[in-house]
């Protein structure tokens, strides 16, 4: 099993949710996050004083899938959220040791 974390532009969330749903991904967890990569921040002015917005709002999507599905999911995320412009985000794939469904006690792929 793999955990896939995708940092994406917030307005792409709906598209991504639908694309993953079609692919057969049954669940996901979403967090509003702020951060920067190579894009860095941008400068704004508030009441005449400049300030740098370092941390730009993004959405982090987390989903756990079977190892076989992982590549397909990563590909779908990339195709769905890519705009080609700076700040499109990143995807991380991590190994997952164990999954439990609390209600039934099912484990691993059964619990996904």
């Amino acid at each position: 099993m793999k955990k896939i974390e995708a940092i994406i532009k917030p307005f792409k969330l709906d598209d991504l949710k639908e694309a993953l749903h079609e692919l057969g991904v049954h669940g996901m967890t979403v967090v509003e996050v702020k951060g920067f990569g190579r894009q860095k921040g941008h400068t704004e002015i508030y009441r005449g004083a400049e300030y740098v917005v370092d941390f730009i709002p993004k959405i982090k999507v987390e989903t756990i899938v079977s190892s076989e599905m992982a590549d397909k999911v990563v590909e779908t995320i990339m195709n769905t959220v890519r705009t080609g412009k700076i700040g499109d985000g990143k995807i991380f794939v991590l190994p997952v040791e164990k999954v439990c469904r609390i209600r039934t006690g099912e484990t691993d792929n059964e619990a996904l």
């Binding site: 704004e44 002015i45 508030y46 009441r47 005449g48 004083a49 400049e50 300030y51």
Partner: protein, 440 residues
């Protein structure tokens, strides 16, 4: 049968008398009754509108401070309003409108006197045209406005109780004295210094007290760190905008009520003119500040636009009756054009005013008073400048001494650690929007 209730707050009791008069009421007396009722009603409703400005200030300031200082600024605003009401009833109103010795030294007495007796009103033939207590009510909300101006300027770093202690002195003593000099018939009034609804008596007064406090208090931590002017964006611009709308609404009472009378054609027209001019000056100030911030900063800064609307309102307050609506708009526009560079300049001078109160009420208040010399045929530039000098000197001086004493006795500034944590927790023990709390 006529029925009238007499008030005597001096005795802290209300004694109701219902004398039944046998004689027929003449048409003339009926008209005096009606006019008295209408003018008193108008006065009370105007006062209620001005009372609502306290809510406007509270929302504006809550919007322009950081989230961690929200509860404290709200506490200050509603507490200062209450203190102003009590102090002005206790002594302030009597200082302002009592029997002063010579135009300089006001009289001193305590609590409110009895309201007008029916016979006195009728005998006056309409000279006495509104209830005395309605006058007190209208005046007391003005004091609160002056004090509200201070709270925004010293926001995010002043001790709550030091601020409220200052409010006691300001609303019971400092404001009423200069109020006596102008509206109480003192020497500024004799000099023909003109201030219709208080660009000077209220707004410049509040700003002068604020700047004295800010100079002793210093800037918020990090505001000028690194030798730069660092932006500290406000937490809630919808609240700041709502606050500005509320102030704009309240201002119709502030300026409109200051005409003091509405019960004949001439006065009704005058009040209408005041409403129209007050509204259009605010609009002019907003548009001017919005365009200026777009041209200067490259973005339309909402907070500057809000300050622009308030600048237009403050500017027209000194004379909302004599200018034409077009001229009133120009007075507001110039107010809006002054307030933006004034805010930037004060920051350059390292005078930290989170909400722009000193610029809006002080700098633009001065502009409004000067404008009277050009918009009112009876205005005199010399008299206006004298009034500005006297009000600033008195309020700044008296406030500075008061702040100094408070600083020596109880301190005025919170600790660095408390400032980092936010005054909501350190002063009030509450958060505006608690998220992770459990009931266990």
């Amino acid at each position: 049968m006529r029925k009238k209730t007499f008030f005597s707050i001096t005795l802290l009791a209300i004694a109701a008398a219902t004398p039944a008069f046998a004689e027929e009421t003449s048409v003339g007396d009926t008209l005096i009754n009606l006019a008295y009722s209408i003018d008193t009603f108008y006065f009370l409703m105007s006062g209620a509108l001005v009372m609502w400005m306290a809510a406007g200030f509270a929302m504006l300031e809550a919007g322009l401070v950081r989230g961690k200082n929200t509860v404290e600024i709200l506490t200050k605003n509603i507490a200062l309003y209450s203190i102003a009401c009590i102090m002005y009833m206790f002594v302030g109103y009597n200082i302002m409108y009592g029997d002063g010795a010579n135009g300089f030294i006001p009289g001193l007495s305590f609590f409110l006197g009895a309201d007008n007796a029916v016979d006195d009103v009728l005998k006056s033939g309409g000279e006495i045209y509104y209830s005395g207590l309605s006058d007190f009510f209208f005046q007391v909300v003005f004091v609160a406005t002056a004090m509200s101006i201070v709270s925004g300027a010293v926001a995010e770093r002043m001790k709550l109780w030091s601020f409220l202690t200052f409010a006691v002195v300001m609303t019971g003593f400092i404001y009423p004295v200069e109020g006596y000099w102008k509206w109480g018939g003192g020497f500024l009034d004799s000099l023909d210094f003109l201030d219709f609804a208080g660009s000077g008596v209220v707004h410049l007064c509040g700003a002068s007290a604020a700047i004295a406090g800010v100079l002793l208090l210093g800037a918020r931590k990090g505001k000028y760190a690194g030798g730069r002017v660092n932006a500290i964006p406000g937490a809630n611009l919808p609240l700041a905008t709502l606050g500005t709308f509320i102030l704009w609404l309240g201002w119709f009472g502030f300026n409109g009520g200051s005409e003091l009378k509405i019960s004949n054609i001439e006065e009704a027209n005058a009040v209408s003119m005041v409403f129209v001019n007050t509204n259009t000056a605010a609009a002019g100030g907003l548009v001017a500040a919005l365009i200026l911030s777009q041209l200067w900063f490259g973005k339309a800064d909402l907070t500057m636009a809000l300050n622009g609307a308030l600048a237009g309102l403050v500017a027209i307050t000194a004379e909302p009756l004599t200018p034409s609506p077009l001229l009133a708009t120009m007075v507001g526009v110039i107010g809006g054009l002054i307030v933006v560079p004034s805010i930037v300049f004060l920051d350059k001078a390292k005078i930290d005013d989170p909400v722009g109160a000193i610029s809006v009420h002080g700098v633009v208040g001065i502009w409004g008073l000067i404008a009277v010399a050009f918009t009112n045929p009876e205005g005199s530039l010399i008299a206006q400048l004298t009034g500005i000098g006297v009000i600033f000197a008195w309020v700044f001086g008296a406030s500075f001494v008061t702040w100094l004493i408070i600083k020596a006795v109880m301190g005025i500034r919170i600790s660095e650690e408390e400032e980092q944590e936010g005054v909501d927790i350190s002063e009030c023990g509450l958060e505006a929007y608690p998220e992770f709390t459990t009931n266990k």
